[in-house]
């Protein structure tokens, strides 16, 4: 395309910039399963050909998705679909900065009804049918946190404990492999709470111990809210870092 005959459509009001359109078309392709997790995308020039834009424009779109954590770019190698991760921040031993081994255990996977917070976060009416998944996080073998995730039962028909365990209790993997959905987390909200009897037992702390609560919604790449979740963790031995 010559510079002097730039397409007039470039200037239409209300139109998204080309690099955003490129981003969205790549998102669409990802959602349609064109590339698997960890797989390489075509090169910038190939994508530029495919979308009919210049390499620099493709680049800007890819950079956006890399900043969102959806893609990983490696110089000399290519652009890859990022491996899905549960993405629950990381626990650190106070002071120390070395990563600790964490494990996930599935406690509950059952239907439930949306409370006020969950309904608001997911844009559903109160009482809507949800799937509730409850997991226990261990750090270096010791109980550290409880995570509850809520998704609309309708969208996740067929979700059960078996599928979750198959994915090593990584829900993001389940959303991706079983339901073709890639999600990105919104900024979390923080609260301080108190451990109830059941929570204290599961986390191995005394009842009425303070717990850190982290709540957040996650949405599809199109921005629609899909998942609401709450993490409750002890912070006597570890620190929570976003």
């Amino acid at each position: 395309m010559s510079v002097t005959s730039t397409r007039s459509s470039v200037a239409l009001p209300g139109r998204q910039p080309l690099y955003i359109q490129v981003r969205d078309r790549i998102v669409l392709a990802i959602a349609q399963g064109e590339w698997d997790s960890g797989e390489a995308l075509p090169s910038e020039f190939e994508l530029a050909d495919r979308f009919g834009v210049s390499q620099g424009t493709v680049r800007k779109g890819l950079d956006h998705l890399a900043a969102e954590g959806v893609l990983v770019r490696r110089q000399g190698m290519g652009t890859f679909i990022a491996e899905v991760a549960d993405d629950w921040g990381c626990a650190e031993v106070s002071g120390l900065a070395r990563p600790l081994e964490t494990s996930l255990e599935l406690l509950v996977c059952a239907r439930s009804n949306a409370g006020e917070e969950a309904a608001t976060a997911l844009g559903l009416r109160r009482g809507a049918v949800l799937m509730a998944v409850k997991r226990l996080v261990r750090v270096a073998g010791e109980p550290f946190a409880l995570i509850e995730n809520f998704v609309a039962a309708e969208r996740f028909e067929g979700l059960d404990a078996r599928r979750i365990k198959q994915a090593n209790c990584n829900l993001r993997t389940v959303w991706w492999r079983e339901f073709g959905l890639r999600v990105v987390s919104a900024p979390p909200q923080f609260r301080a709470g108190i451990a109830g009897r059941e929570e204290a037992r599961l986390l191995g702390v005394e009842a009425d111990s303070p717990l850190l609560e982290v709540a957040r919604t996650a949405g599809g790449l199109d921005g629609e809210p899909v998942e609401w979740s709450v993490l409750r963790c002890r912070t006597d031995r570890y620190v929570y870092r976003v």
Copy 2:
């Protein structure tokens, strides 16, 4: 500069990209007080002339600083030095999303000695002389949080309550106006704690209520740590959001 005679220095090993150099030179100019808070920078083309690079390269450098929150870009108007803000996240009424009026009250401004956490965060030895500033945050008139800030006394010679009050208790303004220092916060660490007697009294909650603790370091634009701070807030009525 013609394309074919590209400067060979562009490829020297260990050399920073030009747009990073541009960023750093702008940071330097800001640190030297070349522009005041809220003031407009020269246009992209003027800066390009000044630094001897193309407009696109200047643009990339400016975009970086805008992403860091140091600059604000407004189409059709120009690029401005961002107003300094205390930047302590925002409290929100659970559910509601409208902004609430907040106020700051200075409680203490005194010398103290670095504890372990502060010393580690600031890269000082334990027991180093610090200035400790303690403030009370009110949201809609009600006590919400206590903030303690720690900085090296040596670097902030002459810091006192008067200077802080003159700046409406906004410490970032003091750092900027009185000490020519612009800081950017690192990601915070979160903990759940319990209100002591004094804290409970100041925050208007019962003793032993759970409190959310948010700790973080802030560094100069060159990345050196300058300030360590801890916020303790009640989350019974409000939610903390990063």
